[in-house]
Symmetry: C2
């Protein structure tokens, strides 16, 4: 068996979720034996699993592309009762440019859609974008994995990752045998990023002969939810420039920003382009996804990355390995088109689209605040508010007795706590160990995606559990 695969850890789908699935199965066959009637999967940002409604216009267009028979002249009258004219029109344009959605496309993605993505980035940032710099992918994860694989030259290649981080990064580094070079986010400072920590981290790694090549930044953050200031972003770009490090910007939560002074989103590309000429060769990959934002179309596996100032040889190699997997799935590509090219003012579907997006956004914002308040009200617990993204990452100061009990049970104390929560409430979160945390601290990550009408009940079940747990293990 491949020794590197053995080393991989992926907590978002690890011990907790596996137990949660078993519980969920058990509840279906014998619900009488449990204090809760449903497992609530807060381990993963999977909005539609928790009944978030898909965007109507997007699904309309996708279903017409799926069944072009509906677009035939003889069906026009009937479908005009089911579909608005702009959805029909959009499906026709897409099919004209795609051909059949049952065919393999260009390995970088359909040229027409890459072109639309480029225009979207231009509108967002105000700087020219070349469609040839865009690779469509099966979710942002695939892009991240390909780029990290390519950047890894040998087992002393170092990639800087934040701690706490999204475990896709640590898992991918394990798989390709690259060295993770951690830099710690500052919990006291709202999970902010301190340049001195970056400098310290790169120096330490290089002192150990690690060849540091890239820095991963997740903005808005996962699991931490922080949104970087422009000043901070400039600082990071300057750091990468000086240290000759490629910047990998995971920007999948770019529309999940709840902190008013961080809106609208500033991409790393925009900030880079606004800097002086000596920065204009800084290498940057930016990743985006249809799974997050207010869209939440996770199951479709769609996304893209943009290459900024990347050597054409590297791009050729990325194209080549993309071609071994043939192409990203067309349904994901169509959704990337819709995400980057939604209805605009004046379109028949615009008002409904806008209302749906706004409703989800406002609700996410309310739930983020509610859950942070809940966590901050728990004994021994502090939690930074979510400036963005879909998660909170509270710190729990566990009683010594609980830590001992965890030790006896052969597990990390945060896993012990999270498992107890799952068994008592049906709420599945991910222990901090899976993301990395300062030694001696304990956290967990929870999404704030449970439905709003169930949210108070959700919070109070956590409160009750926490109190019971702290009573049970009182020092």
């Amino acid at each position: 068996m491949h020794p590197l695969i053995k080393n991989v850890e992926y907590a978002v789908r690890g011990t907790l979720p596996i137990r949660a699935e078993a519980l969920s199965k058990q509840l279906k066959t014998d619900p009488s034996n449990s204090t809760f009637n449903k497992v609530i999967f807060c381990n993963i940002g999977n909005p539609q699993q928790l009944n978030q409604k898909p965007i109507t216009f997007f699904r309309q267009v996708a279903s017409l592309c799926e069944n072009p028979e509906l677009l035939k002249v003889e069906n026009r009258e009937i479908i005009s009762k089911l579909y608005p004219a702009d959805a029909i029109n959009r499906a026709e344009i897409l099919l004209k440019n795609i051909g059949s959605i049952g065919a393999y496309s260009h390995s970088k993605g359909i040229p027409y859609i890459r072109n639309n993505v480029a225009k979207f980035i231009e509108r967002r940032d105000g700087y020219k974008t070349d469609p040839d710099d865009i690779f469509l992918t099966q979710g942002a994860s695939e892009g991240v994995q390909k780029v990290i694989q390519l950047l890894t030259e040998h087992n002393k290649t170092g990639i800087m990752i934040p701690i706490p981080q999204y475990p896709l990064y640590s898992a991918t580094l394990s798989l390709v045998d690259a060295k993770p070079v951690p830099y710690y986010l500052d919990e006291q400072n709202n999970w902010g990023l301190d340049r001195k920590r970056l400098e310290k981290s790169v120096k330490e790694a290089r002192d150990q002969n690690v060849d540091v090549r890239a820095l991963v930044i997740i903005n808005p953050g996962n699991p931490t939810g922080q949104c970087l200031s422009e000043e901070n972003m400039r600082d990071i770009i300057d750091f990468c420039h000086i240290e000759r490090i490629v910047l990998l910007a995971d920007e999948v939560y770019q529309t999940n920003i709840y902190q008013p002074d961080r809106r609208p989103f500033h991409s790393f590309k925009k900030v880079l382009k606004s800097m002086s000429h000596e920065y204009q060769e800084q290498e940057l990959f930016s990743f985006h996804s249809i799974s997050k934002g207010m869209i939440g179309e996770c199951g479709r596996r769609g996304g893209y990355f943009e290459c900024v100032n990347i050597d054409p040889q590297i791009m050729d190699q990325l194209y080549k390995i993309s071609s071994v997997s043939l192409c990203p799935n067309i349904h994901g590509q169509i959704m990337v088109d819709l995400m980057t090219n939604p209805p605009v003012e004046g379109d028949e579907s615009y008002l409904q689209y806008k209302e749906e997006i706004d409703t989800i956004y406002q609700s996410l914002r309310r739930r983020a605040i509610k859950l942070a308040n809940c966590f901050n009200g728990l004994k021994g617990t502090t939690c930074n508010g979510a400036e963005g993204a879909m998660y909170l990452f509270p710190q729990i100061r566990l009683p010594k007795k609980a830590i001992k009990a965890a030790d006896k049970a052969g597990m990390a104390a945060d896993t012990f706590y999270s498992l107890a929560m799952l068994d008592a409430t049906g709420v599945c979160v991910v222990p901090g160990t899976g993301f990395g945390q300062e030694q001696g601290t304990y956290h967990f990550r929870s999404t704030f995606l449970p439905e709003e009408h169930l949210f108070d009940k959700f919070c109070s079940s956590i409160e009750t559990f926490h109190e019971d747990f702290f009573n049970k293990y009182k020092d």
Copy 2:
């Protein structure tokens, strides 16, 4: 840059297709400058790109799953005019079992669908199948890549592959730094498989300290189209058993069998299960796909693999690395369900479904014969008929002058010939170099997928080109 990525070659999407794409673009902007009006992509088994019609029932179900609004009570009367009752019913069952198609599923695939796949295999082979042994994937390619990656322990791990082979295999071995251990198919003997060649190949590899772990077999063959006899399959299983080698059976063309005495398809699992008890621990992975057969839904990226007698620890690791990519896309999963669970006699859609499948099958069969006849009529060319799959792999005995000219142009002679064909006719094939061939022989692979009403024209354009080429380079 990762040194292994540099080494990867992938001809199906290599020099020829890149030039073909450029020509195709050029034809759109300035068609006057060319002797042909369209590039015909025969480099890849991509039926819907060449206007093969999707299966109506499958697309109907998929479009309803995409837009569940259509299933609401108030729309029932309207959609009953557009959709047959069994398509509506099937979409409802799927959605009930999936939840939203916009949500991540279980990383091995939706349990309900894996269950249906297991039942399909049971019906096909007559032996019990455990749904937990099934992994749904984004096309067969993803499964192949994951399994080969996992089986590779170090850079002396050897994987036996046929020559000629589908370049996914050589590319994947390059990427994971495993040693390809080639065994040659016998062109004189209709691309048959000779056990002595397997024995010779494994011995030679082991003599060089290669740790041979697995054998890849593609049946029906790609690019060769051979269909193995049951006797031959037993022989291969016996070989794997004796040599303690895992068998990787690429069975994606299992419904593309045109040779009457090879129908119905015998899977490696079925043959294995029919053998005596000492073979019943033989490890086997079997791969299948929605991209081939009469379905040809390549763009959707769907497939599965079954693990037979695979160590649970290996299966756990496969599950873990699957979970890093979260899940296969749901649209591909739905199509796997439909492929393995199509309308049956008595269903409203059965007759239409059967007619569509039969029409495509008969047409593929006719085109396979027509193209083989065309190739066999060419000067210096011989071509085994396609017992199965979607390709022919003719051998061309090129004039010495052509070989010299190719040498001067700095390319392999089969690439030189194929490029000349592309420039003269717009037909894009893949040179034999991309698949491997006996030294000193020249081949190319062409699909027989161009539309039947254009097929005579397609053949005669190749004939004219070939004659011109042979006249130009006459020795």
